[in-house]
């Protein structure tokens, strides 16, 4: 084993762990234990995921027919806005860092907790308050600006709850910053003895890169939202062209955060993929340093590509050329990762278990999502497909295809660690396959529609698009079933699943050397790390 730690005391299920360490609502709501905060996040992001999915499903039902028969255009606008706001800010951004980052980061580096446990709890509360603002928006009748709040529509003309939404999004930014600050400081200062930077699991590198993006990007969004708020409430004219303001400046400031935010959503998923692929190939990861550094490269270059959202917004054509070039550059580190994962699979001892199904789906869908991003990064092609379903399909392949697949893969991989229980393997594989099929059925038709000219955000469309829209809606139904299935059997497993034991997958990594679920202080004795990450060759020998 890669780690020197005392033999585990495996007395069985009444062993003390973080779940039975203290009881009562108060012991959960006032906890500073990173593992319990992770569970709080798990419950809340799951709630918002299904709420956001519901909004999407309503959209898909309405799009079954070319006419507006389920709702008015105004309500359609409100539905896609709330879908976007909830999914981006309350699910995709906090999901993997909030749940798996919180749960695993201290354990993976051999620490007892994060550097600032109270701030960590605070981040969850701020997240919940922000979520309440967003729910209040829904009850208030919604908001119709799209998740991007483009000015001057959002500041001057929109007749909906813009301010409430802006406050909610402003607050959730604080929540991300608190989490990211904790992660950066913890990774720097609280690693176990012997755990050097290049021995860190790649999930930690991904969390580190993600946190840097959050630290540098989120405050700029906050500043922008302050200006939008001032303009909306007080009638100042910072972005209002009628008063000499520049609405394109808003777009620059907004995308300076919101393009890197795409990497906030996908980098953690990439970290998960690195962990899962090595485990189920029983093989050292191919090109450790390249994967680690490509995360950092994505964090860096990701800040230099925001202008590709504005190719048709009136920015200078020279800026467009530079942004296009940089967009191609940011694809390189992502490609490095995909090649390295594939190379890790090569001649590995492949174990096709549930998390592996999810992560293989992740690689396929991420590759499609990434490559279609290059179409959009090319100036001339973008003019043709800008603001069409091609864009919608592209970012859903990255955010849903990649991030949600990896999130579910992570959930199935670390569920035994978090709860101490196994779920039914056959149902796990079945749900992974259903999600993969349902996802492609939903979004592949959208690529075709977009390419032939179906604009995004319209709910009345020419008849010739109907067949593809119906196919997409059918796909989303399959996808919905695929998402509900894990919800059912994972909850079932809490009570009826068989006990997992400390290391059900035969994985290396510090989190598998402690009991399942881990004890309150994570380890009996602080572990000492003596080898690199993913030392599967030596594990086999010892066994």
């Amino acid at each position: 084993m890669a780690v020197t730690s005392p033999p585990l005391d495996l007395k069985g299920h009444d062993q003390e762990n973080y779940l039975n360490w203290a009881y009562g609502v108060k012991s959960w709501l006032l906890t500073t234990d990173h593992k319990r905060i992770a569970i709080l996040y798990l419950i809340s992001v799951t709630f918002f995921f299904f709420l956001g999915s519901l909004a999407a499903f309503v959209l898909r039902i309405d799009l079954m027919t070319p006419q507006a028969d389920l709702m008015t255009s105004d309500n359609y606008n409100r539905s896609f806005t709330i879908h976007g706001v909830i999914m981006v800010f309350l699910f995709l951004i906090p999901a993997i860092p909030g749940v798996f980052g919180n749960f695993l980061l201290p354990i993976m580096i051999g620490a007892k907790d994060l550097a600032f446990p109270k701030i960590n709890l605070g981040s969850w509360y701020v997240y919940i308050i922000s979520g309440m603002f967003i729910i209040a928006v829904v009850l208030w009748g919604g908001v119709d600006t799209g998740w991007t709040f483009y000015t001057p529509y959002s500041t001057t003309y929109a007749n909906s709850a813009v301010v409430l939404t802006v406050v909610g999004v402003f607050l959730v930014g604080f929540s991300s910053i608190m989490t990211a600050l904790n992660f950066i400081v913890t990774i720097h200062k609280m690693r176990a003895p012997g755990l050097t930077w290049f021995r860190l699991p790649l999930f930690i590198w991904a969390m580190y890169a993600t946190s840097i993006i959050i630290m540098l990007g989120t405050p700029v969004l906050s500043a922008t939202l302050i200006l939008v708020g001032l303009e909306r409430i007080l009638g100042m004219g910072i972005f209002n062209p009628a008063l000499g303001g520049d609405p394109v400046l808003f777009q620059h400031l907004f995308w300076f955060y919101s393009h890197p935010a795409v990497y906030i959503m996908v980098l953690p998923a990439m970290g998960v993929a690195s962990e899962l692929i090595t485990c189920f190939s029983r093989k050292r990861v191919f090109g450790y340093k390249f994967i680690a550094m490509s995360s950092m490269a994505i964090a860096l270059i990701g800040f230099l590509v925001w202008g590709h959202h504005m190719f048709v917004s009136g920015q200078s054509v020279y800026a467009g050329i530079v942004f296009s070039l940089l967009t191609f550059a940011v694809a390189i580190p992502s490609a490095i990762k995909v090649f390295n994962w594939t190379a890790t699979l090569y001649k590995g001892t492949i174990h096709l278990q549930t998390p592996m199904f999810y992560v293989l789906g992740f690689i396929g869908l991420f590759t499609i999502g990434g490559l279609t991003g290059l179409f959009l990064g090319a100036l001339a092609t973008d003019v043709h497909v800008h603001d069409t379903y091609f864009v919608v399909a592209h970012f859903h392949y990255v955010m849903v295809g990649a991030t949600v697949m990896a999130y579910l893969g992570a959930l199935h991989f670390w569920w035994p660690k978090m709860t101490g229980r196994m779920y039914p393997e056959a149902l796990g594989i079945l749900s992974a396959v259903i999600i993969f099929i349902g996802f492609n059925l939903t979004f592949m038709p959208q690529f075709i529609m977009g390419y032939v000219g179906m604009p995004r955000r319209y709910h009345v469309y020419p008849d010739e698009f109907q067949a593809l829209h119906v196919a997409s809606t059918l796909g989303s139904t399959v996808l919905g079933i695929g998402y509900i299935l894990p919800l059912c059997y994972l909850i079932w497993s809490l009570r009826f699943g068989k006990e997992a034991g400390p290391n059900p997958w035969g994985a290396v990594g510090l989190e598998w050397t402690t009991s399942s679920p881990p004890i309150h202080t994570n380890f009996e004795v602080t572990p000492v790390v003596t080898t690199e990450a993913y030392d599967y060759e030596n594990l086999e020998e010892e066994v």
Partner: protein, 215 residues
């Protein structure tokens, strides 16, 4: 670890050294986010100053150079007393610590008081866009943007002063009870980092808005 220090170390840290380094790094990382927050506003300022230099110069002359210069001096003095407070804590001079913390708090309050008076003046002169706005100059729309950014930047800065001042007041009360010492000075040091940052933010705001057309 020396005897008596163990009660100061949270259970998830190895020793007081690790705890101190962790806390300090936490504040530095937080200040990075603050730089980006103010940076967003400064970015907007830069774009509009580039577009409307004459209007910004004209509007900038409406601001009160005397009061703001006094305010800059007051704020820089508060940074000095804050730095001295950190030194007093590290050398275990309890009385001096309380004196310097209190002086910082007083100087910070004077700054906010003068700032409030300046805002009042702007209100009287109808120079607050959206609330009370009547501008006689040559470029009313552009001046309106200047003043919007002025209130956004100075308002954000004042909010930071108010939050910092509140925390400083709590720390001062704890210092009066002898809570801090030469082994337990993290909080004072971190408070100092924050206070100096808020000062530096002002050092950028002052020339951008007040001195822009007075060189």
């Amino acid at each position: 670890m020396a005897h008596g220090e163990s009660s100061l170390v949270a259970p998830y840290f190895r020793d007081i050294e690790q705890q101190r380094e962790t806390n300090t790094l936490g504040m530095w990382v937080f200040l990075v986010t603050e730089v980006m927050l103010f940076g967003g506003i400064f970015m907007a300022y830069a774009v509009y100053f580039y577009n409307y230099p004459e209007a910004f110069g004209e509007a900038g002359r409406e601001l009160d150079i005397v009061l703001s210069s006094v305010n800059t001096f007051v704020l820089l003095c508060s940074s000095l007393t804050m730095a001295l407070a950190v030194w007093a804590c590290q050398s275990n001079k309890q009385k001096l610590l309380v004196i310097f913390l209190t002086s910082t708090l007083v100087l910070g309050s004077i700054f906010l008081g003068i700032k409030g008076f300046e805002y009042y003046e702007k209100y009287e002169k109808a120079l607050i866009p959206g609330i009370n706005w009547h501008y006689e100059g040559e470029f009313p729309d552009e001046a309106q943007i200047f003043f919007s950014l002025y209130f956004a930047a100075t308002g954000l800065h004042a909010t930071h002063m108010i939050i910092g001042g509140t925390v400083l007041a709590i720390i001062t009360m704890k210092a009066m009870r002898g809570f801090y010492s030469a082994v337990n000075f993290d909080t004072i040091e971190i408070m100092g980092l924050y206070w100096h940052f808020v000062d530096i933010a002002w050092v950028f705001i002052f020339p951008l808005f007040y001195l822009i057309e007075r060189y």
